[in-house]
Amino acid sequence: MSTGVSTLDTVEKAAGTPEHPQPWSELGLKADEYERIREILQRRPTGAELAMYSVMWSEHCSYKSSKVHLRTFGDHVTDAMKEHLMVGIGENAGVVDIGQGWAVTFKVESHNHPSYIEPYQGAATGVGGIIRDIMAMGARPIAVMDSLRFGAIDHPDTARVVPGVVSGVGGYGNCIGLPNIGGEVVFDPTYQGNPLVNALCVGAMKHEDLHLANARGVGNLVVLFGARTGGDGIGGVSVLASETFDATGPSKRPAVQVGDPFQEKVLIECCLELFQAGLVEGIQDLGGAGLSCATSELASAGDGGMLIHLDRVPLRDPSLSPEEILMSESQERMMAVVTPANVEAFLAVTAKWDVEAAVLGEVTDGDHLVVQWHGETVVDVPPRTVAHDGPVYQRPYARPQSQDALQADTPDALPRPGSDEELRATLLRMVGSPNLSSRAWVTDQYDRYVMGGTALATPDDAGVVRVDEETNLGVALSLDGNGRFARLDPRTGAALALAEAYRNVAASGAKPLAVTDCLNFGSPEDPGVMWQFAEAVQGLALACEELGVPVTGGNVSLYNQTGDDGLNSAILPTPVIGVLGVLDDVRRRTPSGWKDAGQNVYLLGT
């Protein structure tokens, strides 16, 4: 053991010090999970390995509480529903064939907790993250949407959160040049300490440009490009860092991430040029869990192993430890797999766009992900065990007793306006209420014109953008949810959210093709919340089957609550559903509302 690096926890060292105590509990792992890691590795994990497993096995990355229920979506997909599906659940985002050689990819994702801590940056980086998911499929992002939920409008903290979130969504989207074509704003006291910020991005590509995230081909190079890596979002791992550092300790690690939309805009153009030139074999965005996630997922989906030299990562903060570099959630980064023959051309394109790039390592003929730090091995793991074979929980769930009383309390008990005067007053109160009033104060802060293809946006119920300028082929999207309905009956509430989004898309003149969803719920450790979740998933899966549209991807956000008091402190169960439809010619889209006097008005349906 060399003295210069004595604080470095290498694989060799780990094998020789099985009893060394490790902060697995502080990192959020359960005792049995830590035991499983030791079993997989047949030794104790190194600090860096522990960092990787802990973050990849977290609820956020592993879906350990929701996985068993999410399978329901797959169970209810018929062959007919798969007709337009090029890529389904499991990849960065689903891909839908919209005809004429074009495909679109879309997904909604949450950034709830960060947006409460720092509303502007939390919301901004939420938008940035979902855009990179779409880029990672090979697509050009063409529009964004945002579904927002806040606490009571007259609560003092709402005045802190709302303007920050709205200007953060706008600040990132406007600066990156993506039209915002719709969304929601809802106020309800259950979101007081836990606002919801769900962002959707849609992208388009020709069929042949589809890229998947995998590392294939022994000898191919692994390149990290984009922003430098800093200490962002590694709060939790500092317990590891403080172990490996001497008394002086690591410098302060930021609790929040700051987005750089300019960097991301340049990254988009750079990626598209790389795709067009055929210089990319596989690609992956860096989001939650940063390099841990990108390397293990790429390797796990590939056909070999991977060797990474972590000391080659360009750093913003040179004091970062290997564990921290693996965990950093610095924004605006991507990872690509490139053949040795193409690497020079690849680096020429990144240089043209002033994007920093570093060749970190290569695809190997082994079956392990190996990470080295100045020549010493700090990670040596089967990548699948990190990325895909995480723990799966069968959390207990049960319909809460209180549900009966809730359902028995029907609106029949509410007073009805009895006179014209009362009716008038009721109408005025409704029109002026925070949840029904005009949303122009939000949408006026979002650019809906950029890219020149927006055929419908605010105040219409669906957004419509053109995909192909020659033919005017395009897509319609709507993003909807109703937490109050879902609270009353999660199964029906989820189905109704789908129905609303589906109707909005259909009413614009588009044919609905696919669904994405963001499932925002309280703590999965509460059986009542887990019941809401299970019911909502069932309701959504069945409704999708009924309507013949598949769920192509989405996101689960749990632990949205402000205390430990079960359903009382949880947010309303809030499945937010996005539906995507296709229009052969977006110029034939139907706007909502009537335009001219004398037109007939029909009421359809029941």
């Binding site: 300019f262 960097q263 950029v450 020149g452 927006t454």
Partner: protein
């Protein structure tokens, strides 16, 4: 006639400006910020966006791009140059146009369909309008407040160099409701609203923006004739 559209890192409405040129009947040529080369174009558009993120001051860094040396030289020699939004900011930073654009008085980004009055048709970019014509084009900016000292404002008014003025509402606190101005010769025009987003039916509030592009094409044809 060839109209160049410059792309800086962070330009957003460059493809839209090229589309507008094409729809007006011109040939759009993409120009790259790092090339000190105008590729023989007959006019240049500096498009909207957030060049270099606009983190320092809008347009402050773009002004020093190699292509700008050529644009400034051309403009001084009479080359038609149009700056839209971020392009307007770049023109002010380059001192091709007087004044500056500061943060909107209400502190927020604003996107709206904006009514404007065309105050003069004596520029190469507005000859196809009629004097006093009222048009509607999208506006979208966070730092669109036009400011200059009183003497400069008086001179702009006196010399007929206020090209566009906001109607109905002043969306950003611009002094004297100024939305766009020109240089003395009338070949360089800058404006905050986005005419390139009003060139295609159903993809914007109408076709009022086309006039700027048809104006410069006509001026070009007359120059050849």
């Amino acid at each position: 006639m060839k109209v160049g559209v410059v792309t800086f890192p962070g330009s957003l409405d460059d493809a839209d400006a090229r589309r507008a040129v094409t729809l007006a009947g011109g040939e759009a040529v993409a120009l790259w910020h790092a090339d000190a080369d105008l590729k023989g174009v007959d006019a240049v558009v500096l498009p909207g966006g957030f060049s270099y993120g606009d983190y320092l001051r809008c347009g402050a860094i773009a002004r020093f791009a190699p292509v700008m040396t050529e644009v400034v030289r051309g403009a001084e020699g009479g080359l038609p140059v149009l700056g839209i939004c971020n392009g307007f900011q770049v023109l002010c930073e380059s001192h091709l146009l007087p004044g500056a654009l500061v943060r909107n008085d209400h502190q927020k980004f604003i996107c709206r369909d904006q009514r404007l009055r065309v105050e003069t048709t004596a520029t190469v970019w507005t000859s196809d309008f009629t004097e006093g014509q009222e048009i509607t084009v999208p506006l979208k900016n966070g730092e669109g407040g036009f400011v200059a000292d009183e003497a400069t404002l008086d001179r702009l008014e006196g010399e007929g160099r206020v090209v566009f003025r906001y109607l109905d509402v002043n969306p950003n606190g611009s002094l004297r409701d100024i939305a766009g101005i020109s240089n003395e010769r009338g070949n360089v025009v800058g404006l905050m609203p986005h005419p390139e987003h009003a060139v295609e039916e159903l993809f914007g509030p109408g076709l009022d923006g086309l006039g700027l592009f048809t104006s410069v094409l006509k001026a070009g044809l007359e120059a050849i004739a």
